[in-house]
Subunit: 277 residues, 2 copies
């Protein structure tokens, strides 16, 4: 119930039609007795810098969720960003500190990592192949590096994207062995699809499944269907898998903590969310 004591979180992007956060955060806030609301705000690129600055001069803004097409441009508008933002090159959460600075972070990859940890996966020293070096692939790579992964192989059809990400990873996480140029999954204990392949029927699979180690753990970012063709094929080889929405629900506790709310679990969020897949 919104009243004069309600804080709001601005959800800035364009178009807004596919926004999912309001249907996860708001039912959770209601169930947890937190007086806050996520408000979708359609914002085109030329309006974004002004909107961000002006919104953060309002008294009851608790933070902002930043989505397409502003995730990259927002980085240069902030006073401080996390190492994950620096590696990923994009940011989707902003808050104001007590002294008025705007700080940004990015927890999409953290959601992916929390999901893996919850399934008992040991990441420290492991080797991972991340196919796709766009926004979400970069975020996952950054969070795997922060989680202590030993070896990280990056692949993108746009070679420059994978190379740029590799460079930023080497700068911020020199202890991680970063390789590029192949999407051969052989020998990796973790294989991640961070491409849009699987969004549309008839999409090719992101890797050669015959080369996938049956002991490997396989993760997916596509959440259009729970069990994508890629995950089905991986499961058929005996691999354990993580579905796309696990990343979605696992990342939200991290965002809530960032905005200063008590922590919660992905299960609790799933139980109250009003998403339809």
């Amino acid at each position: 119930m919104i009243n004069g004591h309600t804080d709001f979180i601005a959800h800035l992007g364009w178009p807004t039609h596919s926004f999912k956060a309001p249907m996860i955060y708001n039912p959770y806030f209601a169930s947890a007795g937190i007086n806050a609301v996520v408000v979708p705000m359609g914002c085109k690129p030329d309006a974004f810098p002004d909107a961000l600055r002006s919104l953060f001069r309002l008294e009851n803004i608790r933070g902002a969720l930043i989505t397409m097409p502003h995730k990259v441009t927002v980085v240069d508008l902030l006073d401080e960003v996390s190492p994950t933002v620096k590696v990923a090159g994009s940011c989707n959460a902003v808050k104001r500190t007590a002294d008025g600075r705007l700080v940004g972070d990015m927890f999409d990859g953290e959601g992916f990592v929390r999901g893996l940890r919850g399934k008992g996966l040991q990441l420290r020293g492991a080797s991972a192949l991340v196919v796709g070096s766009g926004g979400v692939g970069s975020a996952i790579a950054a969070s795997l590096a922060a989680a202590g992964i030993g070896t990280l192989a990056l692949y993108d059809v746009q070679e420059a994207a994978a190379e740029g990400l590799a460079q930023r990873l080497r700068m911020h996480y020199p202890q991680v062995t970063v390789r590029t140029g192949t999407r051969d999954p052989a020998g990796f204990s973790l294989v991640v699809n961070a491409t849009p392949l699987g969004m549309n029927p008839g999409d090719p699979l992101p890797i050669d499944m015959d080369r996938l180690d049956p002991r490997a753990f396989v993760g997916e970012v596509v959440m259009k269907t729970e069990m994508t063709a890629f995950l089905q094929a991986a499961q058929a080889r005996g691999c354990r898998v993580q579905v796309g929405t696990d990343m979605l629900f696992e990342m939200i506790p991290a965002y809530l903590e960032f905005f200063g709310y008590p922590t919660t679990s992905a299960d609790e969020l799933r139980a109250v969310a009003r998403l339809e897949y």
Copy 2:
């Protein structure tokens, strides 16, 4: 249920704690199946011009409700204002036209007038005394003039406020006889308390009740209690009365129409509102 198709109405003011609009509009939107939400936004004076301008560059803003301390300053930030705003000198509703201009209006007085009409009062050619020439008194005077009142007597302890309002009324509504300088209710068929008297226990009554015509209709803007001491005294003399919250609920259909929503009734709004008095 807020989702990616939700429009929002920014409710701008400071402090926000006593905001009532969210608890009236939002339950109504939910009950009427209108996908919109009123969001309280705490805004201090120095942040206001930027906030107003930037918010109206967002795609899904349906309008703004403007309250203290911005009702007067907002007028000069708009491209177009109604005659009511010009007379009242303040504005509390803003929308963006299709061609991007910001237009302002003010329906507090219209709510008062709609309430009177709903009670069968004939305003055309009638004579009214409005005690108090602040924001709400000015709005009521402007709407009474627009409704065709014949004679309007204005009184304020700050004489300049009543004189200024009288001048603006004479300019925009030359057919209305406007007088100032007395709060003697004798001879008026409508008497309105538009002062804060009645907010606090022990407040004096705004007029000399012994001079009040028992056939007069008496209206009140104070809504801290339904039957204020003033209304009780008027009723004791035999006068018919209108309580403060009638104005509140009667104005909201006018605001909804201004923002482009279907019209509704004060009764329907009262039935779903979640206000506690």
